[in-house]
């Protein structure tokens, strides 16, 4: 089965990982801008990173037949530096006409601090002004519930923003309904340790339904598995779900969300080649 991984940080993965993902059926990925493992010193560091995301990574992905899309922002961790964040936000429009850019992301909260809120609101303003899709990071552990509620509160402050053009990521059992009931798309992030597992993600689908929901691997610098979406497919197969239902979550839903971007162009794997 073909699948799409809608949230994977390939800059932190090897070319071998791209190849393994392709062999498992990954046909497209989207890569949100995130923390590099260290705080960048200047706006030039971000300009180079955005060149990597819009120029180099699409080529590395294409070499194994994966279509690469991306999202641009300064992540919540580095948003503590408000001055640098504002320089980055002012620079983002330089890249908004690159063909693989889907929108602004992953913006959001990390420790739910006032500075993170300030920069989150300014990113929302940029997305509203440029009519871009938004991909949102929610905090990972004890701050997730509070952070998700705060994020939704701030989106509601901005009347120009349509929840149907936003994906709230890293939802778990206690936040999935907050996202869906407020009209957002949502993503479940599967990790080998401490966070959501493929089995719990399948439980969430059973409880919350399969509309506007998808699964991703995060595939970042920490312990994470770029093949997690394939593991999730196996879990759903073991439960006896039919292939059409599985395909909806791992392929059609990401396509449905990405298609809301004015630049999104996608060739289904069946239509590629001679």
């Amino acid at each position: 089965m073909y699948f799409i991984d809608p949230h994977v940080h390939m800059v932190s993965r090897t070319t071998d990982d791209y190849e393994i993902m392709a062999r498992m059926g990954c046909t497209a990925i989207s890569e949100p801008a995130f923390w590099a493992g260290y705080d960048r010193g200047s706006v030039e560091g971000f300009r180079d990173y955005f060149r990597q995301l819009t120029d180099f990574e699409p080529k590395r992905a294409a070499a194994v037949g994966i279509q690469h899309y991306t999202w641009l922002c300064i992540n919540a961790k580095e948003a503590e530096n408000v001055e640098l964040s504002r320089e980055v936000i002012a620079m983002i429009p330089e890249f908004l006409d690159k063909p693989n850019v889907l929108g602004i992301g992953e913006i959001g909260l990390n420790k739910n601090t006032p500075n993170e809120c300030t920069i989150f609101r300014e990113h929302l303003e940029l997305a509203a002004k440029t009519d871009e899709l938004i991909l949102i990071h929610t905090p990972h552990l004890s701050d997730k519930y509070k952070g998700t509620r705060m994020i939704i509160d701030m989106i509601k402050e901005n009347s120009k923003i349509d929840p149907g053009r936003i994906l709230i990521d890293h939802v778990e059992e206690h936040t999935v309904k907050l996202a869906l009931d407020n009209g957002f798309w949502c993503g479940m992030t599967l990790y080998p340790t401490t966070k959501c597992t493929p089995a719990r993600a399948a439980d969430i689908i059973e409880m919350a339904g399969d509309e506007r929901i998808m699964a991703n691997s995060a595939g970042d610098w920490g312990p994470s598995k770029p093949t997690a979406v394939a593991d999730f497919i196996m879990e759903m197969r073991k439960r006896g779900l039919n292939e059409a239902k599985i395909k909806k979550v791992v392929y059609e839903n990401p396509l449905g969300f990405f298609s809301l971007s004015k630049r999104f162009q996608f060739t289904p794997p069946e239509q590629r080649g001679e």
Binding site: K144, K146, D203, D210, G240
Partner: protein
Amino acid sequence: MPTTRSAQEILEQDFLNMRCLILDLAAALDRIDRAEGSETIENHEQMALLQGGIDLLKQQGAGRAAQVQLHFSDQYEDGWNGK
């Protein structure tokens, strides 16, 4: 999306894994108990959180996972943004 398997089937398929998860938890608690200074952390906030989480497992009905998540979550304050 409804579940595709009966309760009996899920129990049969998951029993050994669930047994293992309980054993992992029991062994982790034993590890703390065996270690030097275990009596000094009895009232530790994290120990109380763990105990509360274990108590939630004994509840009847679905929704335990969401309850455990909320138990380990920071408090959200209504109107924090002045709205």
